[in-house]
């Protein structure tokens, strides 16, 4: 049974906000310590491979540093980081399916199922969804991103996020229910 109404991992901190505008090594390490695990969780659940997630994670931070992006606060930096990570994921899926511009229906790379941690039913249910659905759901319900932020990260129109999210949620709920998890669960 899913432990309902869990407190989400908080990737946002306010203590970076008061720091110097230019990111020095200490500020970078601080940001990394606060955001790397949740970001890796997002990457892992999206791409289904821990080694790849670690590669993309490093590339995302590197790109952020190289871009010279300072951000107004930790929240701003985190959003930027997730946007880079989402772009990297999109590049990854496009490289895998060069014949199509569309995000593939689902990731069926060798080792996908082994690598994704299917210890949880949720992992299995998410693995059945298209990468874009996974990213959208994660950004919305784990990271608490707004429709506008999701649209920006995924390169979609803000107006279409609501309905896309609704359909993605239905697909995930169906998969969860197929694994014996019901919405009628007592949740609080």
């Amino acid at each position: 049974m899913i432990p309902m109404a869990l407190t989400l991992p908080r990737t946002l901190t306010t203590d970076l906000a008061g720091r110097a505008v230019t990111m020095d090594e200490a500020a970078f390490r601080h940001l990394y310590d606060r955001t790397a695990r949740p970001l890796r969780a997002y990457l892992m659940r999206s791409c289904g491979d821990l080694a790849l997630a670690d590669d993309l994670l490093q590339e995302a931070y590197l790109r952020m540093l190289r871009s010279g992006f300072e951000g107004e606060d930790d929240d701003h930096r985190k959003n930027y980081l997730y946007r880079i990570a989402t772009n990297l994921l999109r590049d990854h899926f496009r490289r895998k399916r060069p014949e199509s511009d569309e995000v593939p229906e689902r990731d069926e790379s060798p080792g996908h199922d082994e690598a994704v941690h299917l210890r949880s039913d949720v992992g299995g249910a998410m693995a059945e969804l298209a990468p874009r659905d996974r990213q959208m759901l994660w950004l919305a319900y784990v990271e608490g991103a707004s429709h506008q932020e999701i649209a920006k990260a995924l390169g979609l129109r803000s107006a279409s996020i609501r309905s896309m999210l609704f359909r993605a949620r239905q697909r995930l709920a169906k998969q969860l229910q197929a694994r014996g998890l019901r919405p009628e669960l007592e949740v609080s």
Binding site: L62, A140, V142, Q170, P183, L185, V187
Partner: protein, 159 residues
């Protein structure tokens, strides 16, 4: 029964994330398929995120990331600093080419004159008069220096 978008979705999402349900919202959720599904999804993802965040696999070391970023930044600074030199080199190459092309006919005559007046049968060959021409000296020097600038430029770009 089909789920349809519901106006309580935002409130239900917030409650599902925080665990803070008002009795009214809870009652609504229990009677609304959309909100019940939403609650299931939000809670399932939260549980999944918690599990993934807590996995024991160590994170990549941030030190090499920082180092690579620093190297890239230094390289960028270096490129910026040397870009003026590169432009001077490009200008030198362009001037050389322009001068070279402008003087090609005259230069050709000078070289031809120098070779025809060269007496190889003489035991001590006299330097042809044309070899002392200031124009020839200037043009040849420019071509040599221009060539060096071109070489330096291409070497710098390869690096």
């Amino acid at each position: 029964m089909t789920a349809k978008p519901c106006s309580h979705e935002e409130a239900v999402t917030a409650a599902a994330r925080s665990g803070d349900w008002s009795p009214e919202l809870k009652a609504h959720r229990d009677g609304c398929l959309t909100c019940a599904e939403l609650t299931l999804v939000v809670a399932a993802l939260a549980a999944d995120a918690e599990e993934l965040v807590a996995i024991h696999a160590p994170l990549p070391d941030p030190a090499p990331i920082w180092l690579r970023a620093q190297l890239a930044s230094r390289e960028r600074d270096y490129r910026r600093a040397t870009s003026a030199i590169v432009w001077v080199q490009r200008a030198a190459v362009a001037v050389t080419l322009a001068v070279g092309l402008a003087f090609v006919p005259g230069l050709w005559n000078l070289v031809k004159g120098a070779f025809t007046s060269l007496d190889l049968s003489s035991p001590v060959a006299d330097l042809p008069r044309a070899a002392g021409s200031p124009l020839l000296v200037i043009v040849v020097s420019m071509l040599v220096l221009g060539g060096l600038a071109l070489w330096e430029l291409t070497a710098a770009q390869e690096n």
